[in-house]
């Protein structure tokens, strides 16, 4: 899995948030046609849509949210999980979320959203893995 070295260098919350907002702007955006209720993630205060496609046995994620900080959070997840084989995604542990200090900055309601996003990403991986078998 790719690392997110930059992240824990931010001591200051403002820098951390500004970085997240920047990352949010670089998020690979989901096609408008997939911005439907089928692709919406429950458990977030803001709306989150995630879509995945399998290309050359690797999963590519695209996403969007109506909130910019949420977009930054998904951007981080997608950096970690995109362009991986489904198996690698399934085996990946999610400790990095603690490590980069995301979790401590997320209230329970928001953390639930994060958990749902990861769950959705892993569900896509399960589906593609079955397809490959």
């Amino acid at each position: 899995m790719k690392s997110l070295k930059n992240f824990h260098f931010f001591e200051d919350w403002m820098q951390r948030y500004e970085y997240m907002i920047e990352l949010g702007k670089s998020l690979p955006l989901i096609d408008e046609e997939y911005k439907t209720d089928n692709h919406i993630i429950k458990g977030c205060q803001s709306k989150v849509w995630i879509h995945a496609a399998l290309e050359k046995e690797q999963v590519n994620f695209t996403a969007d949210s109506d909130a910019i900080i949420t977009k930054g959070i998904i951007a981080i997840l997608i950096r970690v999980f995109s362009n991986q084989r489904p198996k690698a995604i399934l085996e990946a542990n999610t400790e990095f979320i603690d490590k980069i200090g995301l979790k401590e900055h997320l209230s329970p309601t928001r953390a639930n959203g994060l958990a749902s996003m990861i769950k959705q990403i892993k569900m896509y991986a399960v589906a593609f893995q079955t397809q490959l078998n």
């Binding site: 919350w13 403002m14 948030y17 500004e18 907002i21 205060q45 803001s46 709306k47 109506d66 909130a67 910019i68 900080i69 949420t70 900055h105 209230s107 928001r110």
Partner: protein, 404 residues
């Protein structure tokens, strides 16, 4: 006059730090903070009185029962109900509403009509929808104006001979609008319909006189007015409460039990099955004492000054849009800045130690009406200060700069 520094010293939580900064607590409409005077009553109860009420012959039980019933009388006096047994002690507003909804499921006929408003909390929508599903009654909705007030002309047109019940919040939690409940009650009564008022948001700011209002049912929660969570009251006119069947079966609510037949206890016990939140009820009484000592007139006047100051300052921020512009409103400001998502703004304010609510505030129909995902809601209490508002305004400014 409010001596805010003296008042603040009554609230231990207000000297807490959040994210390294002094807490600014502007989520009072969700729940209010608790003064030492109320916390001490809870400690005293468990240290000195704890026992089960209404059933023991022993001293502790008698003293606890007395304290519990004194609290009921305090609540009765505060709201000016005619009789103590018209005060049913509940776990909160939500339970009070469900108790009435469940009671009416046997008293309504198909095609009867119920009226609610477009600005209700989900807890004053869902129980009535469930009641309609059960009984075949219809739910009608009073529409809202762009200022966030009720369209009273439309209300008049919705009322007819089939209208049985009307449910309105006294104050909207998402917008702060104070609704014209006197007019609503009078019009409904002229049509032989009964009225339930959800007072959850009104009671921290207004002292309702239930007999003068001539309202049929009134519900509220202690935690919105400096009391503990999970306690509340349902007021109902005795003759109406007597018509309703019990809500839950259990101990305390019976008169005699045999396997053939159980006869129910009289009011209020018929609706108070099981061991209640005894300490909570006693603390509810103490919270009313606390607020009455400060005085609801002083509270309303001071909070109105906070509201005007905050509204004027917020309006200077570029892209500011305030939802709920009724003349008569409580100290609640629901707003958005430009296209910034309320969640983003709330997250940055949280980092600055400022607690506000973001989202749909359990009033999704209002958000749909304004076609927005939600709002940021700042709600003030008599223990908040003008300096805190300055910090909040600076925080909104800073967040807007980061997010735009």
């Amino acid at each position: 006059m409010i001596d805010v520094n003296k008042i603040r010293s009554d609230f231990p939580i207000l000297s807490r730090k959040v994210n390294g900064q002094d807490l600014v607590y502007f989520d009072n409409a969700a729940t209010s903070q608790t003064p030492t005077q109320v916390i001490d009553v809870i400690i005293d109860y468990y240290s000195r009185l704890n026992s089960n009420i209404h059933r023991g012959v022993h001293k502790l039980s008698q003293e606890a029962t007395e304290a519990y019933e004194i609290a009921r009388i305090k609540i009765q006096k505060h709201f000016n109900a005619a009789k103590p047994y018209e005060i049913i002690l509940t776990s909160g507003t939500t339970e009070g509403i469900n108790l009435i909804a469940s009671g009416y499921s046997n008293l309504l006929k198909p095609k009867d009509e119920l009226i609610i408003s477009a600005m209700e909390h989900h807890s004053n929508i869902v129980p009535w929808q469930m009641l309609c599903e059960k009984t075949g009654a219809y739910l009608k909705v009073i529409p809202m104006t762009l200022e966030g007030t009720l369209n009273m002309k439309a209300f008049g047109e919705l009322l007819n001979k089939k209208t049985k019940l009307v449910f309105i919040n006294h104050v909207s939690n998402a917008l702060g609008t104070v609704n014209p409940i006197v007019e609503i009650i009078n019009k409904a009564h002229a049509n032989d319909a009964y009225v339930l008022i959800d007072g959850a948001q009104a009671c921290p700011h207004i002292k309702p006189d239930l007999q003068a209002l001539d309202v049929d049912f009134y519900v509220t929660s202690a935690h919105k007015l400096c009391g503990p969570t999970g306690v509340g009251m349902l007021y109902g006119k005795a003759e109406l409460l007597k018509l309703l069947p019990p809500y839950q079966g259990g101990g305390e609510m019976i008169s005699t039990v045999t396997f053939e037949k159980t006869t129910y206890a009289d009011l209020p016990h018929k609706f108070e099955a099981g061991t209640p939140n005894i300490a909570g009820v006693i603390a509810f009484g103490a919270a009313l004492d606390y607020m009455n000592d400060i005085g609801f007139d002083s509270i309303a006047k001071y909070e109105n000054e906070l509201l005007n100051y905050a509204t004027d300052s917020l309006q200077k921020i570029d892209g500011m849009k305030i939802y709920g512009e009724a003349h008569n409103k409580t100290a609640v400001i629901s707003f958005n800045v430009g296209k910034i998502h309320p969640y983003d703004l709330g997250s940055i304010l949280d980092q600055l130690g400022i607690a506000v609510r973001t989202g749909h505030h359990c009033a999704q129909p209002i958000m749909d009406f304004f076609e927005i995902p939600g709002t940021v809601r700042a709600s003030f209490s008599f223990y908040n200060t003008f300096e805190e508002i300055d910090r909040f305004i600076a925080g909104v400014d800073k967040a807007a700069g980061m997010l735009q």
